[in-house]
Amino acid sequence: MAESVKVLPEDIQQLMDVYEWDMRTREGVQRFRALKARSLPSVALDGDLVYESQIPMQEEIAEEIRLRYHQKNRDDDHAS
């Protein structure tokens, strides 16, 4: 799953950090439950569970990341 995120275009890579949790571990299970995920694979962006049981198309996830990035920066600008 993380592989599909790691191959996103360079401009998207610049906007994000990728974390992968191993579901075999207690830490992975804890994270899975904290996100209230139900199935695998699951992808969360900024702590929100966005994709479950599916690997999104590259364009789709890239667009979602761009949107969130701009939204976040706009919110930060308004806040400052």
Binding site: D22, M23, R24, T25, R26, V29, Q30, F32, R33, A37, R38, S39, L40, S53
Partner: protein, 314 residues
């Protein structure tokens, strides 16, 4: 000591002395959690344990050797041999938890859940299970509890040949950390509980099965997510909250192909249950006695399928 052995747990099979085993850990060059298990002078062995635990091994190793108690050896002498065996790597670190493999050919197994020291319940359940002619009777912990019959219970378990797993209450008694209002227990009795298996492996008509009590095993010092059957335990205890959270069953199903076994049994929740997820069978073993009613589980195999029934005793 070789540097890479820090923090490992060891079990040394003693010879010629009363205790059957010596349990200890080595943290860096320091001996910790020393315990003589399975007999001997409880006072003296506890004193030796207290004097040596937490001290660098080099400080005392020499004085242990050559002390004679019986058969030209003694508990300290056996400890010296154990430490020497660690040093020359002829004694391998023990597993985080004690796994017992039942190699008998099992077609039918009777399951007994939490007994909590209820000897009468065990006696009645054994009478009931006998009629079903099981190849094995497994108790998935706890055998002890807040009961004056704990010692008698252990005696019955040993006498009847039931294979009992250590439950959390048994583990707490073994460690001397039982609730303060629970009955006292002699150190020899506690030693029996220390030596109970914490995980049981058996085959049911060719299907691989593993049984454990619950999540206290995940809290044992040194527990690793990559220990044998840790995946099964992490999924049952952590992911599904002992199969009580059905919302995550799709995730469980995705993980089951990595299971080492076909059948997983647990006891902690004191509720009988049978689930089939991802082609694996998962069974919750309920209490032996509840509300005056006794119950046990019968595990069989039919045409390669695992069958499970909860039986009650009036």
């Amino acid at each position: 000591m070789p540097e890479n052995l820090a923090g490992k747990r060891y079990i040394y099979k003693a010879r010629g002395v009363c205790p059957a085993e010596i349990h200890f850990r080595i943290d860096g060059d320091v001996l910790v959690d020393l315990r003589f298990v399975g007999g001997g002078c409880p006072g003296n062995s506890l004193l030796v344990s207290r004097l040596l635990s937490g001290r660098p091994i080099d400080e005392f190793q020499d004085v242990l050797q050559g002390i004679d108690c019986r058969e030209n050896t003694s508990c300290p002498d056996q400890l010296a041999l154990a430490l020497k065996a660690v040093n020359n790597q002829s004694l391998e670190p023990a597993d985080t938890f004690r796994i017992h493999e039942d190699r008998r050919k099992i077609g039918r197994a009777a399951l007994i859940g939490d007994l909590s020291g209820d000897g009468q319940a065990l006696e009645r359940l054994l009478n009931a299970t006998t009629a079903a002619a099981p190849d094995a009777v497994y108790c998935v912990g706890n055998i002890t509890g807040n009961s004056p019959q704990n010692k008698e219970m252990i005696r019955m378990i040993l006498k009847t040949g039931i294979l009992a797993l250590q439950g959390k209450a048994d583990w707490r008694y073994a460690q001397g950390t039982e609730p303060p209002d629970w009955p006292e227990m002699a150190s020899q009795t506690r030693d029996h509980l220390v030596r109970l298996p914490q995980v049981l492996r058996f085959d049911l008509a060719g299907k691989k099965a593993v049984a454990f009590y619950g999540d206290y095993i995940q809290q044992l010092t040194g527990y690793s997510d990559y220990d044998p059957y840790a995946l099964e335990m992490n999924m049952i205890c952590g992911l599904t909250d002992f199969m009580r959270d059905e919302a995550v069953f799709p995730a469980l199903e995705a993980m089951t192909p990595q299971f080492e076994v076909d059948l997983v049994l647990f006891g902690q929740t004191r509720q009988w249950g049978h689930w089939r997820v991802g082609g694996k069978n998962i069974i919750g073993v309920g209490p032996a006695s509840e509300g005056g009613r006794l119950s046990w589980g019968l595990l069989t195999s039919e045409n390669g399928d695992i069958r499970f029934n909860t039986m009650t005793v009036d």
